[in-house]
Symmetry: C2
Subunit: 317 residues, 2 copies
């Protein structure tokens, strides 16, 4: 089947190139492990270089590409969103939160460095992300006004109306806020379906949308293109989260690097637990299709984003 | 003694006016408690409106005043530093960190809302602070370039080279990193003295310095004035921290709102524990004197900052 296999191979090379570019930049931007206070830098680097896929920084770069800007023009901001993502994982894994001992196949940050250092490493990454955002103003063709707009997009994506808000809803759902767990029957089921969509639209989707918008804004995209990126990001976020949930249920443990079934153990509200496996797969395919369709106005400028969406869907196969 | 009592009364009125201005702005900027996800907004507001003195936002306003800018011109940024300060207190009080059940005379955030919600409320305040910083660009006479410079100053002040770095050092000191606790004798004592200075220069001083610089930058201060603000902030930060440590030892419990002696209970590295009470008092007076002297180049434009330093010293009397 050479027809279907060609596309993933092409985008895989692009993703690998971007991944290396981002890893090199992260290594350059983050302070060395022996700089004082060394412990927190070790904890920060441990989690940043734990083998993430760099999806969010890749989306920043791809968003800038749509506006014709080179990846180098948004590299600080691309790294910034990865630091934000990493901080959120470190805090999420804390005993007070999801209490996950494993992350990406390795002991979680707090297991290695202690709970207090994990809180502080997350806080330091959070702050440092905004330092990198500000530093993006030094890279042409960026302007201070564009960077400020990108910073605003980031804060909206990660605050109480975005990523953190989604974690709050997730927490409430796990801890048995009325309307959860008894997923049987009509209106109760509908409420659960709405809940899982809303949790993930904020918890995962908001930073994915913000990443694309940050890239577009910094690259100088017009309002029409930004609207396209927003719509694409909305659907891609849904597809990504469903596929992530599915991998937790059916994937090999090594593939995601956390114990398979970890979500179920914690009574997490996931797409498979609410919609079932088959319907979740269909929803992921639909969302991918919607994401790709949203790109139509971009013409060939949307090629990488289209291939990326298709590639994520293939992960599940 | 009418001569000495007149000054504190004048600055007390100014501080009260600024405090009201800041409280009103914070109330306007923070989302309402019934907005979803309501729990996190309740936790955020609980800690923001727990009766803080608003010292840091007042320093932002005072920094802008030096450049001739009105307080309204820096109000979003002034509130932003208070949100940062609040987030740091919430995370500091967590069981995994200082494990403080009381803050400003009331149960700490995590005691009321749970550890997970306290982590998230801190994270949300952290992110929201940068949203407010970005929004300061909408207020004349600010420009995007000034706001970006102010954001950079904030990130440097609160990251691993500033506030969070100080918390890391503090944590290591409490948990018995070699060179602590046995404060007897020559070189060991000198190391302890250096350690307590460095911890507090970062943990408390960095945000105080950043607040003054943010106000100066946003207000349009020139490089000479910014250098004056930096020097003043350096000394004021030292004075403030010593006085805070002293109040913990000798103040009435109600005055600071945390249990008196809490630092000693946690084997915290404090100025009184390392330098003794009398020498700490002298160091605070010296630092206040140095702060005031640093203001000389400003002439009458430094009047409020001078009175503020003198007022903080009087707190201890």
């Amino acid at each position: 089947m050479p027809e279907t296999s060609r596309r993933p191979i092409a985008i895989e090379g692009v993703l690998a190139d971007y991944g290396r570019l981002i890893d090199t930049a992260l290594d350059r931007y983050l302070p060395a492990e022996d700089a004082p206070p060394a412990d927190v830098y070790r904890a920060m680097r441990y989690s940043v270089f734990a083998g993430g896929k760099r999806l969010r920084p890749i989306l920043v770069i791809a968003g800038a590409e749509v506006a014709g800007a080179p990846s180098e023009a948004v590299l600080p901001a691309a790294c910034a969103v990865e630091l934000i993502h990493t901080y959120s994982l470190i805090h999420d894994d804390l005993p007070a939160m999801d209490n996950s001992a494993l992350r990406r196949g390795r002991p979680a940050c707090h297991v290695v460095f202690g709970d207090a250092m994990a809180v502080l490493a997350g806080d330091a990454l959070h702050a440092y992300a905004f330092e990198l955002m500000a530093r993006n103003a030094d890279v042409p063709p960026c302007t201070p006004a564009r960077v400020l707009r990108a910073i605003h997009a980031l804060t909206v994506g990660i605050g109480s109306g975005g990523m953190v808000g989604g974690q709050v809803l997730d927490l409430q759902a796990v801890r048995g806020v009325p309307g959860r767990k008894s997923a049987a029957g009509g209106s109760q089921g509908a409420r659960d379906e709405d809940a899982v969509r809303e949790i993930h639209r904020l918890k995962t989707g908001a930073l994915i949308r913000a990443s694309l918008r940050i890239g577009g804004v910094l690259g100088g995209a017009g309002e029409d293109d930004l609207a396209v990126l927003d719509r694409y990001g909305e659907h891609l976020g849904v597809a990504f989260q469903i596929l992530d949930d599915l991998l937790d249920v059916v994937g090999e443990s090594g593939k995601l690097g956390k114990g398979t079934g970890a979500d179920a153990e914690q009574s997490k509200v996931t797409f498979p637990s609410v919609f079932g496996l088959e319907r979740s797969r269909r929803l992921a395919a639909d969302a991918t299709h919607d994401a790709v369709r949203a790109l139509t106005p971009l013409g060939p400028r949307g090629a990488h984003l289209e291939e990326l969406a298709a590639y994520l869907l293939e992960r599940d196969r």
